[in-house]
Structures are given as structure tokens and as C-alpha cells.
């Protein structure tokens, strides 16, 4: 249980879950819009359901997916920067030891 809680508290996991919930919420709004419009034959009563359910639901789905895509790309970019920083440290370590290597007799 504590392991699951520790995983959920990771910002990458929690952000992904929240944005996935936004997408699911958008689909739920779409479903509610369908139910409301299907419950009446009077078009003026159906139009508000189209707006609040279909259009708003579509906007929520799009927003959730776009933000999820941005979040995943930034997570990968941050991981890439960490790896390049490690490579930089190795190169600088080699550079610091280069004068020492020059002082050794060549074989």
C-alpha cells in the first residue's frame, strides 16, 4: 500500500492521472449531452445539451489530451537533459585528468 502511495505521489504519475481523468470527464460530458438530447424531441431543449455536453465535452477531451502530450514530452526532455548532464560531468572529469595523463610515460 505504501509502495502504491509512493508511486501515486510521484509528480509525473499524479499529473498523468489527473489529465487522464480530465479526458474521461470530457467523454462523460459527451455521454451526458447525448442522454439529455435523446430524452426530448423538442429541438430548442436539445440545443443546450449539444452545447454543454458535446462542445464542452469535446473541448475537455482535446484539452486533456493536449496537456497530457505536453507533459509527457517535457518529462522525456527533462530525462534527456539529466543524461546529457551526466555525460558532461564525465567529459569534464576526463578533461581534469588529461594533464595527469600527459605526465605519465607513454608505453
Amino acid at each position: 500500500m505504501s509502495e502504491i502511495w509512493r508511486i501515486l505521489r510521484d509528480p509525473r504519475v499524479s499529473t498523468t492521472l489527473v489529465l487522464a481523468a480530465v479526458v474521461v470527464g470530457g467523454f462523460a460530458l459527451l455521454g451526458q449531452g447525448y442522454r439529455g438530447a435523446a430524452a426530448t424531441l423538442f429541438v430548442p431543449y436539445q440545443v443546450p445539451f449539444v452545447v454543454s455536453g458535446a462542445i464542452a465535452g469535446l473541448a475537455l477531451v482535446g484539452a486533456g489530451l493536449a496537456l497530457l502530450s505536453i507533459h509527457l514530452e517535457r518529462t522525456e526532455a527533462a530525462q534527456e537533459r539529466r543524461e546529457i548532464a551526466a555525460l558532461q560531468r564525465d567529459v569534464l572529469r576526463l578533461l581534469a585528468r588529461a594533464p595527469e595523463a600527459r605526465r605519465r610515460p607513454s608505453r
Binding site: 493536449a66 526532455a77 558532461q88
Partner: protein, 144 residues
């Protein structure tokens, strides 16, 4: 390994060190870390620089405005019983709001990509400088 990269084996320390024989790349930079960019609009307008948070805030504001427009469309159409009076609200507020949401999200996406690209370029520049210095240091040993 062929081409400008080749493996050299000299001393034990220098084993498996890849030397870069390509000519050094000259990268022009702006005063605030912009790389590969000629001085232009981004230098004159600080809000347009890749590390500026302004485009992200603008994108978020556009997205929120889009959702507000959709809610306005909902409120106005729910207050009418004549379809002919509802349709203009549907188009002007509902569909426009949806368009604003898409535009705002695109602005946020582009701002995030520009920022990450600049940070990656700066890191690669530092790495390239360090490798060049290392190559020069090892090359001085060759000349002796």
C-alpha cells in the same frame, strides 16, 4: 568507425576516446542564451524569447477564455426556446470557444517546445565545448 569520428588507442587513460575530426561548428548566440537565431524580433521583444513565461500564460488565458465562451453559449441557448435564436449563440460562442481552446493549447505546446529546445541547445553547446577542450588537451600530447 569511419568518417570524422574515429577511435584512437594511445595511453590507458585515452583508450576508447573518440576524437572529433570535423571542423569546429561556429554557433552564433544572442545576449540571453539564444542559439542559432539571428538578432531579430525575439531580441527586441523580451516576451517572445524562448525562456519567457509570457506565451505560456497567454495560451492558458486563451484556453480559459474559450471555456468561458462555451459556458456563455450554454447559458444563452438554455434561455431561448426558438432554435433560430439559439443557432447564432451556438456558432459565435460555442464553436468560437472551441476554436479558442484549441488555439490556446497550441500556444502552450509551442512555448513548451521552444523552451525545451533552447535548454537542450545550451547543454549541447556546453558538451561540445568540453569535448573540444578535451580533444585539444589530448592533441597537445600527440604533438610532443
Amino acid at each position: 568507425m569511419n568518417g570524422p569520428l574515429r577511435k584512437t588507442r594511445r595511453t590507458r587513460l585515452e583508450e576508447d576516446v573518440t576524437t572529433i575530426e570535423a571542423p569546429p561548428v561556429v554557433i552564433s548566440g544572442g545576449p540571453h542564451g539564444e542559439l542559432h537565431q539571428a538578432p531579430g524580433l525575439t531580441d527586441r521583444v523580451p516576451a517572445l524569447r524562448p525562456l519567457s513565461p509570457v506565451p505560456t500564460y497567454i495560451g492558458i488565458a486563451l484556453t480559459v477564455l474559450g471555456f468561458v465562451l462555451v459556458m456563455i453559449a450554454w447559458g444563452q441557448t438554455a434561455g431561448q426556446t426558438n432554435v433560430a435564436l439559439q443557432v447564432p449563440y451556438l456558432i459565435s460562442a460555442g464553436l468560437s470557444g472551441l476554436g479558442l481552446v484549441l488555439v490556446g493549447l497550441t500556444v502552450v505546446n509551442v512555448a513548451a517546445k521552444r523552451r525545451d529546445a533552447l535548454l537542450r541547445e545550451q547543454q549541447m553547446q556546453l558538451l561540445s565545448d568540453a569535448l573540444r577542450e578535451l580533444s585539444a588537451a589530448l592533441g597537445r600530447d600527440d604533438d610532443r
